[in-house]
Chain length 475, copies 2
């Protein structure tokens, strides 16, 4: 087995941009920035156009360049200006590129030049701590990282980012719930390198505080109290901000687990996960049928929801429907969701079984809660579904009755048909869409989704395997 250092060396060669790529991407960035500057000047607008992000910090990955151009306005520029005039200006600067308007806290322009994504983002030139918008910190982040990273550490950041991408923990967006690029940079800075960061992560526990600026030195409990998060990485540019707020517990743990596995069995697969074999409809149908579990899918349309809103709604809805299924006695093994982030969305629940035995135990009130007892007994004695009892168990009345919902598919259909499932906790924007359209599919019926939804087949194949690709089979 190669040493971790050897693997890192080989990976670094593949992910460090070469001279030609650098020049091409920087030329693209500078062209747009120059146009932006002259357009701003034409309009008589005072603003600073800066290159930010991984390109500015030289921590980007070969073949995966993002160009982040920030336009810093004076604080007296009203926010509506961003929406009303800035976007038009940015569009003109990026003329000739494919363009999409995006919204985070305020609107920005995303363009595609070849396979390079260009973001043109407005922000305010303010002093630290006087933030007017979420993007105002970015230039300070860039400055902080640039002033602390030497050439070696830039490579180490590239390794950590590529590792995070390979294991699926890269990205602060809700869909991923993972580590931002800036967070990767801070971790490399704090621990002094890629392998050092992995080794450091092995010691993480819920509530770990990584405080690069030492702001909370000796007062880590204060940081824990303030941030109330399983992973706290204090932003050196703004000690009131947890750079790791986006990281879900699961992604924190996935990173820790992968770090442990990589240090024990270093391989390139962590950075370059192989594609899973494509499965035909017949193969998939056979796999689902022989699996022994029940797969349920809810399909709905989600046009008009920005990704972070969509995934927030999806998360809440998954949790709510899992609760609904559990309440009726179904054992939910796993759940997940797929979306093209444009039009289609599929929620998946894997159950031990979508059919439950016909009789269920209803645990009623303790014998001394007179009012409830009378109601329970009156109800059960008149219940045509009563199978046995009511009788007393411990200090409570209980009864065995025929189950109302022995079939999970019917249960979900019924619940989603009532106001889009709003009453069982389907998130409001999703419930609106469910009211207009939804399908509940089970087992081999999911194959139709593989045919109709591009990308769903691959997602499903991975979901069915479940296992991280980097987990070594022989141990």
């Amino acid at each position: 087995m190669p040493s971790p250092e050897e693997v890192c060396r080989r990976v670094l060669e593949r992910i460090t941009p070469g001279q030609a790529e650098r020049e091409r991407v920087l030329a693209l960035a500078e062209g747009i920035m120059a146009r932006l500057r002259s357009l701003l000047a034409e309009e008589g607008l005072e603003a600073d156009v800066r290159l930010e992000g991984s390109l500015a910090k030289d921590t980007w990955l070969s073949g995966e360049a993002d160009v982040d151009i920030f336009v810093r306005f004076r604080p007296d520029v009203p926010k509506r200006f961003f929406k009303e005039r800035f976007l038009a200006l940015a569009r003109r600067a990026a003329e000739g590129l494919k363009q999409v308007e995006r919204y985070a806290e305020h609107p920005y322009l995303e363009c595609l030049a070849d396979r390079v994504r260009v973001n043109i983002v407005p922000c305010y030139a303010v002093r630290p701590g006087e933030w007017l918008s979420a993007t105002d910190r970015t230039p300070y982040h860039t400055d902080f990282v640039r002033s602390h990273l030497d050439e070696r550490l830039k490579g180490e950041v590239r390794l950590l980012k590529k590792f995070m991408k390979g294991i699926g923990t890269y990205g602060a967006e809700l869909r991923v719930g993972g580590f931002s690029g800036y967070l990767c940079e801070l971790l490399v800075l704090y621990y002094g390198g890629f392998l050092e960061a992995l080794r450091g992560a092995l010691k993480w526990r819920k509530g770990i505080v990584v405080d690069i600026s030492g702001y909370y030195g000796g007062r880590e409990d204060e940081a824990r109290e303030l941030f109330r998060h399983h992973l706290i990485v204090v932003d050196p540019v703004d000690p009131g901000r947890n750079t790791a707020a986006s990281v879900s517990l699961e992604k924190m743990c996935l990173f820790m687990a992968a770090a442990r596995e990589f240090l024990a069995r270093p391989r390139e697969v962590f950075f370059f996960p192989p594609e899973l074999p494509v499965k035909s409809d017949a193969e998939l149908a056979e796999q689902i049928a022989s699996r022994g579990t029940s797969l349920l899918a809810i399909r709905t349309r989600v046009a008009g929801l920005p990704p972070d809103v969509l995934w927030g709604q999806v998360r809440r809805t998954l949790r709510a429907l899992r609760g609904t299924l559990k309440n009726e006695g179904f054992r939910v093994l796993r759940m997940g969701a797929w979306s093209d982030e444009v039009e289609e969305c599929v929620l998946i629940f894997e159950l031990e079984s979508s059919r439950l035995p016909p009789v269920v135990k209803h645990v009623g009130p303790p014998v001394w809660v007179e009012e409830h007892v009378e109601r329970f007994l009156a109800k059960q004695m008149a219940n045509p579904a009563l199978v046995c009892g009511p009788y007393i168990e411990g200090d409570r009345w209980v009864a065995l009755v025929r189950r109302r919902w022995p079939d999970a598919k019917e249960l979900l259909r019924a619940r989603l048909s009532e106001g889009g499932g709003r009453q069982v906790g389907v998130a409001p924007l999703l419930a609106q869409r469910v009211q207009e359209y939804f399908q509940v599919l089970e087992g081999a019926e999911l194959i139709s989704l593989c045919r109709e939804l591009e990308g769903f087949r691959e997602w499903l194949v991975e979901f069915l395997v479940g296992r991280p690709r980097w987990l070594a089979p022989a141990r």
Copy 2:
């Protein structure tokens, strides 16, 4: 609907012994006592022969007389004397009656004259608090009750006892886990009557202290701390003893529930529950099949276990096997046990289903428990039963695997075949017997038990109904 008082009046007429019955039973008792006295005198033994129990207190029920004859010895008589000579003496005194030796704390003789049970019990003449054996308190109980009960209260005690018998809460023996006759007497004394006791019981909660002698006046918490029981009725003869120690929570609650129901809907059915209709094999088989649950029975032989030992072992075993079933994922709706207390014993579990879906989720260790993680991953990656994963959920590794025991009957058979189930918590004396012989039966197979075991059919019919017979259908 009749008033409670009217129902009581009618019941009292039926359960109060008439003159002829009284004379017959007392003559029987006095005959044996006279013989005992002269035999003791012949042997030169100094001992006091006394009539105790409900006959002495005149709280017995017509048709259900028990004759309790106590022989009080001086404290210097060694305990082995009871075993070596007392029993022989008692046997001679009760010559002509059917006799069985019984053991509580020490041996005594039980005889049957017609349908009257006669117990001849040795004890020590000691002062209160200087008890040498458990039966030494009895004469003091008798004296206490006799000196406090007037004619009206004797009738009230009869009502409470008959009520307790009717609803199945009468008897301190482990099989019942209910209220002793003395406890019924104390409750009537404390509350001042039968209906008053029912009304009083409605106010009981876990940890209620009924302190007739006022010994713990204002220090009820001390009594709770001392006795640690849901129902505490302080023995006025020995404040260190909880007369209600034998009452299980379930029987306490059953009594409370029946009390509430009787006061709301007074009927004689509480005192004289009707027999359930006898069911044929075919009817029972049909009822079991259409019920929708799974019934599992474990049959074993229990010869040689005194009832209280047997039922103690049965209780522990039921709890242990319920745990075994639950641990493997089975949902246990109810359980119960039948025994003839001589030879045969049947444990019953009613499950939602005796078959479980083929796949189960194994929740492994949190990612940071290195040693356990390595063991879990090594095991699962080599597990031929692995279906999905291992993957990370929250902070833990989990895996979906084929279930080891999808069939409850096979599970029970396998567990009971290993040392009689000792390792899964079958109580030791029962495990010995299970090692020699057991059967696991399911569903319609239980019919064979109805044919072979006298009394089991009736028990099963009642178990299947579950509902107390006194619960009014229309409410």
